[in-house]
């Protein structure tokens, strides 16, 4: 009966969405011109951007790279008919100083090499996606490239040939094995390269030697201290019991460093004189100084921070209150007061006659400062661990230190890595404060450059350059920390 009804029997073809909601136009409508208010905002912001760039770009584009003074700059800019222009001559003249301070020009390869080796030493800690082979390849390559900047001698040529061979061999295996599975390679008899963390451990002793120079036997002796401690523990533990062995294993290296290391270094140096030309701390400056202070302070403050965080978390009342007092005191005062302590008080606190140089004193106080912040970051990591982890460790019958080492710390440190990185960024930026106590970091140098009659009146170029130096470092570090957060997020949120 009801034959008027109409039922569609075939599917309609899919239609494209309206053109105003897709593509560039759709995106623009949604993100920039969505309503009157948003349109106004967009136009205002674009106007602002155009206005700022319209002023900055012509200012930056100024051919003053070779000018020798601000007056010359003004002449060049005036000749080109512009109202104002940047004076890049100051950067051209002073950038080596900004980077290295008064580090002897012919020795600047050493800090540069130390800087690049730092990254290679950090790769196995920071990234886990680079293979061992790649790591050793990079190390050999950096060393090989560095040899080209040294004075040539018979020894250097031998070193160069060895390094070239290493680069070629590791590079060849990298390319040859890139396709196949690692497990298959090992089954087929491929040898595993040693763990690159060995180099990281060596770097701790290598860096001060490269920067400060002197005989190689001092860092070798310092490293020997750790070997002695380990040997004492292994040899005495079966005889005297673990606890006594641990105490002795801590005491022996300290005695070695305090009493015997100097003797050892000078004796060995007399037999086998091999070393680098020493450089005094006061010749350090510029970005080199900032990086040295920042990296040393962070590296040393990490273990101190772990100990303080454990102290603050512990049930032992005295240990806990000592940690809390230390942490809260350091966090409650500005870094500048601690730097004042470094510059005028630290020598008063130490036995009469001790005279550390100022950079070492600053590093000590920066370490103390950073360790309090580090302790709070790690405490955050410890607190973020579910209580079940602690209880599970107890249930397995692990003692306190085993539980910390095997269960708690690996997870807590993983959680706190972004915090550690941001502490480092903060400390690195705070190294500029040393200019207030008269050290010549980039900011300190900028004051002396602005006092120079040639460059009197320079503002933007100089500070802009310093800001850019810091920005490159801190911005890449913060991006790294974000990458790490993404990588470490093992939950499924």
């Amino acid at each position: 009966m009801n034959d008027l009804s109409f039922v569609r029997t075939e599917m309609l073809p899919e239609r494209d969405p309206p053109p105003s909601t897709t593509g560039v136009i759709g995106w623009l409508r949604k993100n920039m011109f969505d309503g009157v208010w948003n349109t106004l905002l967009t136009i205002a912001s674009i106007g602002l951007i155009v206005w700022v760039l319209g002023h900055i770009l012509p200012w930056i584009w100024s051919p003053t790279w070779n000018a020798g003074s601000l007056d010359q700059c003004r002449e060049i800019v005036g000749a080109s008919g512009k109202a104002s222009g940047a004076c890049w001559g100051v950067i051209h003249e002073r950038w080596p100083q900004m980077l290295y301070g008064f580090y002897p020009a012919e020795l600047r390869l050493r800090p540069t090499l130390a800087f690049f080796l730092l990254f290679i030493a950090l790769i196995p800690v920071l990234f886990n996606m680079i293979s061992r082979r790649m790591n050793w390849f990079l190390l050999a390559l950096v060393l090989f490239v560095a040899t080209f900047f040294t004075a040539s001698s018979a020894l250097m040529i031998v070193v160069q040939i060895v390094l070239a061979a290493a680069v070629l061999y590791i590079g060849y295996t990298l390319v040859a094995n890139s396709g196949s599975d690692r497990a298959e390679q090992i089954a087929a008899g491929a040898r595993r390269l040693p763990n690159p963390l060995i180099f990281t451990a060596l770097y701790v002793f290598l860096m001060p030697w490269l920067l400060w120079g002197g005989t190689i036997w001092t860092p070798v002796g310092a490293a020997l201290g750790f070997v002695i401690g380990w040997l004492v523990f292994r040899l005495l533990a079966p005889v005297l019991g673990t606890l006594t062995a641990i105490i002795l294993a801590f005491a022996a290296p300290v005695l070695w460093w305090l009493l015997l290391n100097g003797l050892f270094a000078s004796a060995m140096h007399a037999i086998l004189p091999f070393g680098l030309e020493p450089v005094e701390s006061r010749q350090f400056g510029g970005l080199l100084l900032s990086v040295t202070i920042g990296v040393t302070a962070i590296a040393v403050s990490l273990p101190m921070g772990i100990v303080l965080a454990l102290g603050r978390q512990s049930d032992l009342v005295i240990v806990k209150s000592l940690s809390v007092i230390f942490i809260e005191f350091i966090r409650g005062v500005p870094l500048i007061t601690l730097l004042f302590v470094a510059s005028v008080l630290l020598n008063i606190f130490l036995p009469p006659g001790t005279d550390f140089d100022i950079i070492l004193r600053v590093i000590i106080m920066a370490t103390v400062f950073a360790s309090a912040y580090m302790a709070e970051v790690i405490r955050g990591g410890l607190a973020a661990l579910p209580k079940g982890q602690y209880e599970a460790a107890d249930a397995l019958g692990l003692d306190y230190w085993k539980a910390q080492r095997l269960i708690i710390m690996p997870q807590a440190l993983k959680i706190s890595i972004p915090g550690i990185v941001s502490t480092f960024i903060g400390l690195f930026k705070d190294t500029t404060l040393v200019s207030i106590i008269g050290l010549l970091d980039p900011v300190g140098l900028s004051n002396s450059i602005r006092a120079d009659t040639n460059w009197n009146g320079i503002v933007w170029e100089l500070y802009g350059f310093i800001a850019l130096l810091f920005f490159i470092f801190t911005f890449s570090m913060s991006r790294y920390s974000m990458y790490l957060e993404r990588r470490l997020r093992t939950d499924h949120r």
């Binding site: 969505d34 912001s45 009469p352």
Partner: protein
Amino acid sequence: MTTLTDPPKESFRLSMLIYDSRYRSMTIQIVALIAVLTLIGWLISNTAQNLADLGKQPSFSFLGESAGYDINQRLIDYENQDSHLRAAFVGLLNTLLVAFMGCIAATLVGVFVGVLRLSNNWVVARLMTIYVEMFRNVPVLLWIILVMAILIETLPAPRAFRGETPEASMMLGDSVAFTNRGFYVPEPLFSRGIGDVHLFGEAALRFDVSLDLIAVVATFIAGLLISGLITRRADRIQAATGDRPRTWHWKAAVIVIPTVAVLAILGFYLGKPELQGFNFAGGTHMRNSLIALWLALSLYTAAFIAEIVRAGILAISKGQTEAAAALGLRQRRIMSLVVLPQALRVIIPPLISQYLNLTKNSSLAIAVGYMDITGTLMGITLNQTGRELETILIGMLIYLTISLTISFVMNLYNDAVKLRER
């Protein structure tokens, strides 16, 4: 038949101090305490020895001596004949001034930027990201010095305001002048004022409290409290009847009318700065060291606060907004009744630490010559008297007190807004 016997009584052996977990923690703590005390004792004996060698006995009597230096930016009266203690007090007030102004400005800018970073508008969001990254990744000391240099190099000198056709002119109806020596702004004055109260007589910590100011502020706060009562009443009526009476005009009236009345009774007027000779007279002179420090600290800290605000708002799950919408709340009420109260709980703890950072960073005033506690006590006083130990100790303790006070007060607030778990 079995008998229960006590386990054999263990006699105490020395090794139990280490191997028995009942005593071990005690042993460890005592060893740690002895080690720390030894370290402190060693440092103190070194210090005493060194100071004796230098012929300096620790003493705080220098605080009473005449300081002999001028402080150009100050909140209270100070002559260079006054004592070092007075100078330190002036410095302390300057620290608190810049920290207070900085916290307010940083919060305003930070919240603004943080909200705009979440904007749907692509250009605005990117622009705010650039702001945040630019300020976060460059040392604050550099910003302070840069702002100071810009103020000095780009603003006109006071003499540019002189003559028939001056190169520069004052703003806001001839009441504000931006010069390279600082900003001249009007100062509040009272023609029929009720005077000041002088606290602490002639002591070093003396200061005057303006009764006029107290009267105005008290009236204003009373107005706020009464408007709070009106809101409560509106809530009650809404709960009982479902209709909310219109209250905003009542609230505005109880806040504005009494305050304006008190201002009128006291004869309030603004003392404008005026050009006299080569400089401005009258008004309040904010030196450019203060302005530079304030601007740089606020803009720098604002970048961090913006990130905190953004994270706080993002931390509130979308379900909350949707649930509120499902209840029929309007957009504005969703923000004020549902999202913000929850976001605040996430925002406040890191915000406290940013306020602390700002206060501590204000010690960088020394780089631009603003005379805060670092510049007076730990700067000139230290150099003049040569009392490194005493001045730095006092300075640290003052900063410590400020930090602990701020975190105590803000923690009280944090406790008040904290989620009450049952």
